[in-house]
Structure formats: C-alpha cells, structure tokens
C-alpha cells in the first residue's frame, strides 16, 4: 500500500523552504515507522504513552523545536507547525506530549525563567531526560483560569504552595511541574520538582479520548519551595496565557494532521469498498463528503500557514491563534466524524484510525481554550465587548 502523503491541493509545498519540507518529512517517517505500529496497544491500555520513543523524539529535536539555544533546534514557526501536524497525524496524544514539553514547559522557562533555571532544565527537557508538565487548570477552574484557588504564600525567603491541579498532561510522568498559583502579588509560576515533600500526582482513568496520553491530577499540600524555583519574569495571568498561545498555535497545525490522516484513510477505503456493484467512492453522497473534507483541509492549511508567517514576523496577535485553533480543530473534528461515518461498521474498530482521531479531537476541541471561549475571544475582538 502506498505511503501516507499530506494534502497539497493548492501546491502549498511551493511556499515551503527545503528545511521546512525536510522537517516535515523526517517527522512523518518517524511517525510511520515507529509510532503508528505501537499506538493501538497504548490506546487499549488507557492512559499510557510509548515512553520508549522519548529518546528518539528528543534526538529528532521534537521538544522545543522553535526555541533557540539550550540544545533546541531553533526552527521557524512554519517548520514547527509542520512538525506538530505530522505528530498529530499519528495521534493527538503524541502531539500533546511534544506540545506540553515544548510549548508549556520549556517555553515558560525560556521566556520567564532565570538563567539558572534555564541552564538547569532546558537542556534536560530538550534531550528528553527530564519530562515536564504544566499546572494551570483546576477542578473548578478551567476556562476561568484567573479564578484559581491554588495559593503561594511567603515563608521566610521561600514559598509554600497549596492546591490541586487537574487535567494535567504528563503530570505523573513529570520530573518538573510548572505550577501557577496565586500569591499576594498576583499569579506567579513555580517550578515544582517531582520529589518535593507534599507534592503528589494521580492519573485520571476511564478516558474515552486521548487514551494514548497520560492525564493527571497534581496535589500540592504545604509544598515548600525556595525563591529560586519561582519564575522571576512571570507576572500575572498574562504569563500562563502566553504559554497557551504557543501551545494553541501548535494545535492549529496539529489538528490538520489528524484531519489529513482521516481523509487519507477514507479516500483509500471508499475507493476499495464495493457497495451495490461499485466503489463507495463513486457515489454522490461520498463525493460530497470528500469534496468538503479536501476544501476544509485546504482552507485550514492557508490559515495555519499565514498565522505562521505572521508569528515569524513578530506580528501575531493572540486572536489570530484563537481563530486558527478554533477553526482547524472544528473542521478536523467534522472530518473525523464524516470519515468514521463513511467507514461504516469497520469504522468502530481500531484497525481504522478515524474514530480514534475523532474521540481525541473531542478533547482537543475543549482543551487549550474551548471552542466556545475562542468564539468569545473573537467576539470581543470584533465588538470590543466581553461577553459571558
């Protein structure tokens, strides 16, 4: 069977540099050769990630690929986006792993950390020898992160943290957690090492979605930290939100990867599947669905590519990332649903991947800013009025 190839209806490859294409190809090869053969086994286990692939992922440079220095590849944002696209072609859990490590752990240390923190953590995180997680969301505060209850209180020269974080990707795998907590001075970021007394984690089980990813709760009970563990330049909610802009940017590209995986699967399937004397692909209702998929993927690619160019040019506004994340995840989810539909009964078994992408994308739609929150961000941008 022919290898997977991405959609390029508008010959967008012509707009990519050699490096950008090479980055995409090398990650695609890794996903095909090493990730896809093992993904099912992890999905069946629920909440399990193929940790044995982490050294190869690090060697490839997948962690913090768009950051500069400290062992990071220093790629531009188009190449970074293409990398995220290829990872999510494998599974949203694979992309999430890299997104969290790079966009939500390495990025805040890179942007807001002290030199000591950068030197201590960034090379280890880039090399995959240390795993990180990002603790912002709480059981009662998701979209309204500013309402967080986790507290940081001064004690001598240091801090004491108390609170609970939930829906934390890689929480129990993490050697270091970037925990956001409220102090008298406002919201601040803290690096909590795994072995700090009072810091515990537990995994969320029974997930229908993102089963190839570890999702945890973080429990902080009188966790004492020295001042050196506070991110010195992170002041206020703006800091964690800037991290989310990084990760959401990656998601806008990643969702296209999931959409293209479903599209590729269903084009192949409908060509081979004989229904009432002819291929399913030859039926009008099928062709309408396929035409919609191709069109939406292509529009999503244009959106992602332009946002990438603006990001590289330093002209990005977070509302643009909201539009890209909102649109591309939404169309990817619709494409996955349509693909699963066209696969018929076959579509519900894990020999086919569209349903796996579909249920993953249900999560992706409501994480890193829900679809509705991004709607309101755009709504506020248009009207100047903050709606609830």
């Amino acid at each position: 069977m022919a290898e997977y190839d991405s959609v390029d209806f508008l010959q967008l490859d012509e707009l990519l540099s050699d490096e950008e294409k090479l980055a995409r190809n090398t990650v695609r090869e890794f996903v095909s050769r090493e990730f896809l053969p093992v993904v099912q086994e992890h999905i069946r286990r629920d909440g399990s990630f193929p940790m044995e692939l982490v050294p190869t992922m690090a060697e490839l440079g997948l962690f913090g690929a768009n950051l500069h220095g400290y062992g990071c590849a220093g790629m531009n944002n188009i190449a970074y986006g293409l990398v995220m696209q290829e990872l999510e072609r494998g599974d949203s859990g694979l992309r999430s792993f890299a997104s969290v490590q790079g966009g939500l752990v390495m990025y805040p240390i890179h942007a807001y950390g002290s030199d000591t923190q950068k030197e201590r953590w960034l090379p280890e995180l880039a090399a995959g020898r240390a795993i990180g997680c990002f603790g912002l969301t709480e059981p009662d505060f998701g979209s309204h992160a500013g309402g967080m209850l986790t507290k940081a209180e001064r004690k001598g020269d240091g801090w004491v943290l108390n609170g609970t974080k939930r829906w934390i990707t890689n929480g129990s795998l993490a050697d270091v957690a970037v925990v956001w907590a409220r102090s008298r001075d406002g919201i601040g970021g803290f690096l909590v090492e795994r072995d700090r007394p009072g810091f515990e984690t537990g995994d969320m089980k029974g997930k229908f979605s993102l089963r190839g990813s570890v999702t945890s709760e973080l429990f902080l009970r009188d966790v004492e930290l020295p001042e050196e563990n506070r991110l010195p330049s992170a002041a206020g909610l703006k800091a964690p939100l800037s991290c989310l802009t990084q990760a959401r940017y990656g998601i806008a590209w990643g969702a296209l990867g999931a959409a293209m995986a479903c599209y590729d699967e269903v084009v192949r399937y409908t060509r081979d599947r004989i229904v009432q004397g002819g291929p399913l692909a030859g039926k009008q209702l099928t062709q309408e669905k396929l035409a919609d998929m191709l069109t939406e993927i292509t529009k999503g690619q244009l959106l992602a590519l332009r946002v990438a160019q603006l990001k590289d040019a330093g002209k990005l506004h977070h509302t643009m990332v909201s539009m890209a994340k909102r649109n591309n995840v939404d169309i990817a989810l619709q494409i996955a649903r349509q693909a699963r539909d066209l696969l018929g009964a076959n579509g519900i078994v894990d020999d086919y991947q569209s349903m796996r992408h579909m249920v993953n994308l249900e999560t992706v739609r409501t994480y890193e800013g829900t679809h509705d929150i991004h709607t309101l961000i755009l709504g506020e941008h248009i009207t100047g009025m903050r709606a609830l």
């Binding site: 190839d5 490839l60 590849a73």
Partner: protein
C-alpha cells in the same frame, strides 16, 4: 579520514510512473523523489564511522535542481559537505558516464573510502560502483552486509548467492557498495536540518570536472531504446466473476498445477 558517499535521487517508491512521450524514460514532472534506498544505508555506514572518530563525510550526487533536497537531507543526517554535479550536459549519461563524473570528484577529494549503494531502485544496473572504482584505481567489492573498519583496511562480509557470505579484506583506500539492511538508517534530526543550511554544498558542471564531450547522451555507449510496462504474457489468465468465483477458480488452478 575522509569518506565519500555517492547518492542518487530516484522516483519515490510510491510514485505513479508514466512513460514520457519519447518512450525512453518516465515523466518526471509532478512525482516525488527520494534518496535511493541502497544509498541511505551507504550513508549511514559512513556516518557510523564519523560517530566513532574523526572523519569527514562528503556526499556526491548527479542530477537537476531537485537533487539538492537529497543532498540537504544527507547533510541533515550528519554529512559534512555535499557536491552536486548539476549540468544538462550530463543528461543521458550511461553508467560509464556517471562513473566518470563521480570519479572526477573522487580524484579531487581523495577519500579513504567510497561507500555507494549496491544498485539504484530505478535502473537496477549495479554498474556504476565497480566502474567508478576502476576509473579511480581502487580495490572494490559489492553487496556488503557487514563492514568492519581496521586501521588500514576494511573487512567486508558480502552477500553471495544462496544466502552464504564471502569475507573479503580490502586495503584503504577502497570502494564498497552496500546492500540494504546492513544497518538501521538514522533520521535527519531537526537540529541537523537546521545545521545543514550552513554546510557547504558545491555545485559543479561537467566542464568544471574536465569532462566536456565525454559524458552525457552523446558519449553514451548504452542508449535506452524504449521502456515499457511488462507485457501481458500469453500464459497469463485473468480470473473474472464474483470474489467467491475468483477464489474458487484460483484454488482449482493451484490444484491443477500441482502447487498444493
């Protein structure tokens, strides 16, 4: 220590191949290309030598503009320099013409070892490596499945018919053509791809190599008259009908031929 690796860019294994209007090659527009599979193993073999000690790896390829991507991939995987022989005058070269071009580069570079793939995925000639070695005056062997590096020689296990191996020792400098599966080929890392941007990629013309008039279609002793898809043989039989009928027909045929 210097190792030269010869790479060929060939149509992607999944590319849909259509014959061109002259009937002597395939239509190259709108198909994807990749590094010849055998050559990726040759490159990996060189990169392993580099991992173990001080060694410069120079990759060389002949082809049009698109060949740059193959060379950049090789640089991304860890090669140090690339030489791209790019000249329309080289078009239509036969194996000897290609070997002459590579030999001219080899003479300039004076590598301690030349690794090549055993053959190319598209032409399957397996002729260029021995010709190149002879033109440069190097001892050579083909179809290597294991290479052990010594101080002044290579010990090579080469594949022979029937699954047996022949062990040969070659003094350096020498040329070895490599069989697939000899190693596990690495990926080009993102850091490597970024670093590759800054690595030298020299473009050379036929004239630069002093070979004007002696390579290319005009000088080729072997000319492709025609390429064609495999003809339908007289003995081929196409089974028709529903799946059940086709399967039943196939089983009957296998029994008739005494294959079961």
């Amino acid at each position: 220590m210097k190792i030269m690796v010869c790479l060929k860019q060939v149509p992607h294994q999944d590319a849909r191949l259509d014959i061109d209007s002259a009937g002597t090659w395939i239509q190259e527009s709108n198909i994807k290309f990749e590094i010849n599979t055998y050559d990726t193993y040759a490159l990996e073999e060189a990169l392993r030598a580099k991992d173990e000690g001080e060694c410069e790896v120079v990759v060389v390829s002949i082809g049009p503009d698109r060949t740059t991507q193959a060379l950049r991939t090789a640089l991304g995987m860890g090669a140090d320099r690339a030489v791209h022989i790019k000249d329309e005058e080289a078009d239509g070269s036969d194996a000897l013409g290609l070997a002459k071009l590579l030999a001219a580069v080899a003479k300039e570079e004076s590598p301690d070892t030349i690794f090549t793939g055993f053959m190319s995925d598209d032409d399957n000639f397996a002729a260029v490596p021995p010709m190149l070695a002879e033109l440069v005056g190097l001892p050579h062997t083909t179809a290597a499945v294991k290479v052990v590096r010594g101080d002044s020689s290579l010990t090579v296990d080469r594949e022979t018919e029937g699954g047996s191996y022949e062990v040969v020792e070659l003094p350096l400098p020498c040329l070895v053509s490599v069989q697939t599966g000899i190693n596990q080929v690495r990926y080009a890392s993102l850091k490597g791809i970024m670093a590759a941007k800054k690595k030298p990629l020299d473009v050379k013309s036929v004239a630069d190599l002093g070979l004007s008039g002696s390579v290319g279609a005009g000088a080729a002793k072997v000319k492709i008259e025609k390429i064609a898809p495999p003809p339908k043989g007289d003995t081929a039989e196409l089974l028709e009908g529903s799946t059940d009928e086709v399967v039943a027909g196939l089983v009957t045929k296998i029994k008739e031929l005494g294959l079961l």
